[in-house]
Amino acid sequence: MNVLLFGPELFYLGMALVLFFFSLQRRVQVERTYWAALGLAAAGFVVALYCLFQNGEIFFRAYKVDLFSQIFKAALALGLFLVMMISRNLAHIEPRYHAEFFFFLTTCTLGMMMLVSSVELLTIYVALELSSYSLYILVPLRKGDGLDVEAGIKYLFIGAVSSGFMLFGLGYIFGATHSTYLSEIIPRMPELLASPIGLVGLLLTLAGLFFKLSVFPFHFWAPDVYQGGANQVVTFIATASKAAAVAVILRLAMLGAKYGYSFTQALVVLSIVSMTLGNLVAIIQKDFKRMLAYSSIAHAGYVLIGVITFQELGYASAVYYALAYLVMNFTVFMVLSEVATDGQDLKIEELAGLYSRSPLLTMSLILGIFALAGVPPSIGFTGKLLLFTSAMNEGYFWLVLIGAVNGTVSLYYYLKVVYAAYFLEPRQGPLQLSWPTKALNWTLCSAILVFGVFPDGLVELARTAVRMVL
């Protein structure tokens, strides 16, 4: 077996081990732990990029390495690295838990990397749980005011329930098709068209992933977890974890491609409800992270639009959008955690006067927010328009109309952020940024603009990748 096929996973396994030893140390060395974790995460991204064009199957065909999975692995590695970048100041996590914090982030990444490569039901489940359990621990790791406990318990319970649904669904699929390999299940799925078992099994299976992506009706955890978790953990949940969920949903939804009306209609309804609910409830939020939680529910709805098409272009735009979402959402969260220097929850109005406190952060915030709102020439605009285009190609006129109207609704609460940052007078002094943060700001801003204006390279890559799945 070529080691490179399993390269990124091996690397992150090793990285987890190193961090594990750090956590055993009696003397707490915050700085050293941080730099080690950051360095390893950077190396991990390089490894993931190096393995981008690997191709093959391992572990008795349960594990498929192709461009599709490798793109998402690179995205996950990037997500981890970016989260590490803003973890210099972990104000709300006790110093002696810092190593654990990095350790669980790494295992979570490892789990998600395995998730995007798994093409066998049990492997999918195990990988999913590996990533979920790490997050169950990370969420309540924040010290404080009881909010963290509520968040942790909600996340665990809703996660456990949706895992239960998923297992139940996997059982149905296995029972009806006598296989746990996706490649064997797909040709047998049409046989189940006449009975509801296939459809029910598939929808229940997807439930576990809808939980990750916070699609209605598995979104209830999102606002509380976003608000209660440490800023860095939430950033990770809001970026990398979503990208991984999109990848697996794209793989699993193919099981239902032949189902036509009943399956797609279910997804259409979920998509519409998610984006409408998310956008409407986000309007009344005062807490910045809560608002972003509802906006993430809405974005989950947008991504589903691409899934519903079951076509190359739709899938490619869903991949593009997932990657775009990672970048733009991270940008907003980075600003959030830079402004919340002591790790507190940030009210939207606490962004007041950011334009004079730190013009650079304001620029990033505006670009990130506008990208989320789908304003050109950002990556979010292009992504959304590509999604709508591919859905319209499949004749979903009403879905696109509702999506477009939702875009208008969402603009209202995104503009409230812009309003606070640009218009309100500052109540605190200027913010000092370290040079790596400055560099990160510039990089993210240019990424949002460059990939928004020149999307071709990324779209072509995504198209090549999704051909492996279709």
């Binding site: 020439p377 709508f388 319209m392 208008t408």
Partner: protein, 490 residues
């Protein structure tokens, strides 16, 4: 349409010069005000010069689409970067150039957050240039949105009079319009069967009548919001009043034209049968807008509101011209877009100057202002005369063309529009009288008149108004080169 490739990327340069200015500004410090203004002026000036060049160098004998640049952009979705100039957008590019250049000069005295102001203004104008020159639907819409969104920040920070309300209202109205445009535009794309956003290629496709009807009305309403088509105009007077001077100029002068231009360029061009079906409706909305704008404008006491409502009625003339679907009507409509753009820019520029000094725009407070600032008042009065349609000004010819066509096609609506305009002219003169020729307000006696440098932008605007008033043929013959084939293709 014949396409003539550009020997040099004039259009891309026009598009990129504000972008380049914007990026330079990003790296300047707020304190370097003179440099910031200088950079903005140079980048606006380059765009202005290029827009004059394309206007003059357009070969009327050759016709068709000139200065074309075409690059494949996103292969998978059939998106191309496709820009060009023809008779109907050359005047509008020129208009944008004029307004941005004079706009930068008008804002020369700005003291508050100068750097950010010019960054957003240049971003906005990039979008405007982009819309006027794009022949690819994707880019058209992309630039359209770029032109709309910076308005929010521009009004919010540098505006006046209920600016928070106005900024949010304007943005949400316009984005709601986008919510209709996206499905309409994508329906065309997906039902064409050729998977391209290239408008010239889409024009060749015969869409089924019901698709044309659905798409046309979606686009008409969606773009109509920006064109301040009655009854979706309510954001526009509020927005104009709240916006800072140069933004009002850009907005009323250029941005509203994006809406009507898009109706012409996208909706009518791609859905001719849809247009036939909805033309009556469109004419009705336009005529109501003309009458409504004139009469509501009469009741206003704030000068900017007067102009805001007069814009609604003047944009109604554009709409009426488009609705006729005749050569004269379309000619007049495009000419009116240009003339009204320059005229409103002059209006807002003049009012802005007065407001900066006196901090009031109330007609009765200003009183006999021409005795205090004769030159500043003269700018406003010239604009008012132009708005009233006095011969010798550009808008006279434009309105004449539209109204002749309108009376032929929709006699009742046309006559109603003429009646409304006559009443409007009457009252415009009363506004002028009350504002400028009554007893001067002693509070304002000590103000100095416009210096030659600050008067320069207004002089440029007046120059264009009078030039095209005296030589309307230069404009009409140019517009005609594209309108005649346009109507044939419908």
């Amino acid at each position: 349409m014949t396409e003539h490739l550009a020997s040099f990327p004039y259009l891309s340069c026009m598009l990129l010069s504000p972008v380049a200015g914007l990026f330079i500004l990003l790296f300047l410090k707020e304190e370097q005000r003179t440099l910031i203004r200088g950079v903005s002026l140079v980048s606006a000036g380059m765009a202005f010069a290029l827009s004059i060049y394309t206007f003059v160098a357009y070969d009327k004998q050759l016709g068709g689409l000139q200065f074309v640049e075409k690059y494949e952009w996103v292969k998978g979705f059939g998106i191309t970067y496709f820009v060009g100039v023809e008779g109907m957008n050359a005047p509008l590019l020129l208009l944008t150039g004029i307004v941005i250049f004079t706009g930068v000069l008008t804002m020369w005295e700005l003291q508050d957050r100068v750097k950010e102001y010019f960054i957003f203004q240049l971003a906005l104008v990039t979008g405007v240039f982009g819309v006027f020159m794009s022949y690819d639907l994707f880019f058209f819409f992309l630039f359209y949105e770029i032109a709309v969104v910076p308005m929010y920040i521009l009004i919010l920070i540098w505006g006046s009079t209920r600016k928070e309300y106005a900024a949010m209202k304007l943005t949400l109205y316009l984005m709601a319009g986008s919510g209709l445009i996206i499905p309409g535009m994508l329906l065309l794309y997906s039902s064409s069967g050729i998977a391209t956003f290239n408008m010239v290629a889409l024009h060749a496709v015969q869409f089924s009548p019901w698709i044309q009807k659905v798409v046309f009305v979606l686009l008409l309403l969606g773009f109509g919001v920006l064109a301040a088509v009655w009854p979706f105009h309510t954001w526009s007077p509020v927005g104009h009043v709240a916006a800072p001077t140069a933004v009002s100029m850009l907005h009323a002068g250029v941005l509203m034209k994006l809406g009507s231009f898009a109706i012409l360029r996208v909706a009518m061009y791609l859905c001719p049968q849809g247009f036939q079906y909805w033309a009556e409706f469109m004419g009705l909305l336009a005529a109501v807008g003309i009458v409504y704008g004139v009469f509501v404008g009469l009741a206003q006491t704030d000068l900017k509101y007067v102009i805001g409502y007069s814009s609604v009625s003047h944009m109604g003339i554009v709409g009426l011209g488009l609705a006729t679907g005749t050569v004269d009507g379309l000619n007049g409509a495009v000419f009116q877009m240009f003339a009204h753009g320059v005229m409103t820019a002059l209006f807002f520029s003049a009012v802005g100057f007065i407001y900066d000094r006196t901090h009031t725009r109330e007609i009765h407070e200003l009183g006999g202002f021409s005795k205090i600032m004769p030159v500043a008042s003269a700018f406003f009065i010239t604009a008012a005369l132009c708005g009233a349609g006095v011969p010798g000004m550009a808008s006279f010819w434009a309105e004449l063309l539209v109204l002749i066509a309108a009376v032929q096609v929709f006699p009742v609506r046309g006559l109603a529009a003429i009646a409304a305009l006559v009443v409007g002219a009457l009252f415009a003169l009363r506004v002028v009288q009350n504002t400028f020729f009554n007893k001067p307000n002693p509070k304002f006696v000590h103000f100095e008149d416009v210096s030659p440098f600050l008067g320069l932008p207004r002089m440029i605007l007046i120059g264009f108004l009078i030039f095209f008033g005296i030589f309307p043929q230069t404009m009409v013959s140019l517009i005609k080169t594209s309108i005649v084939p346009f109507i044939k293709g419908m």
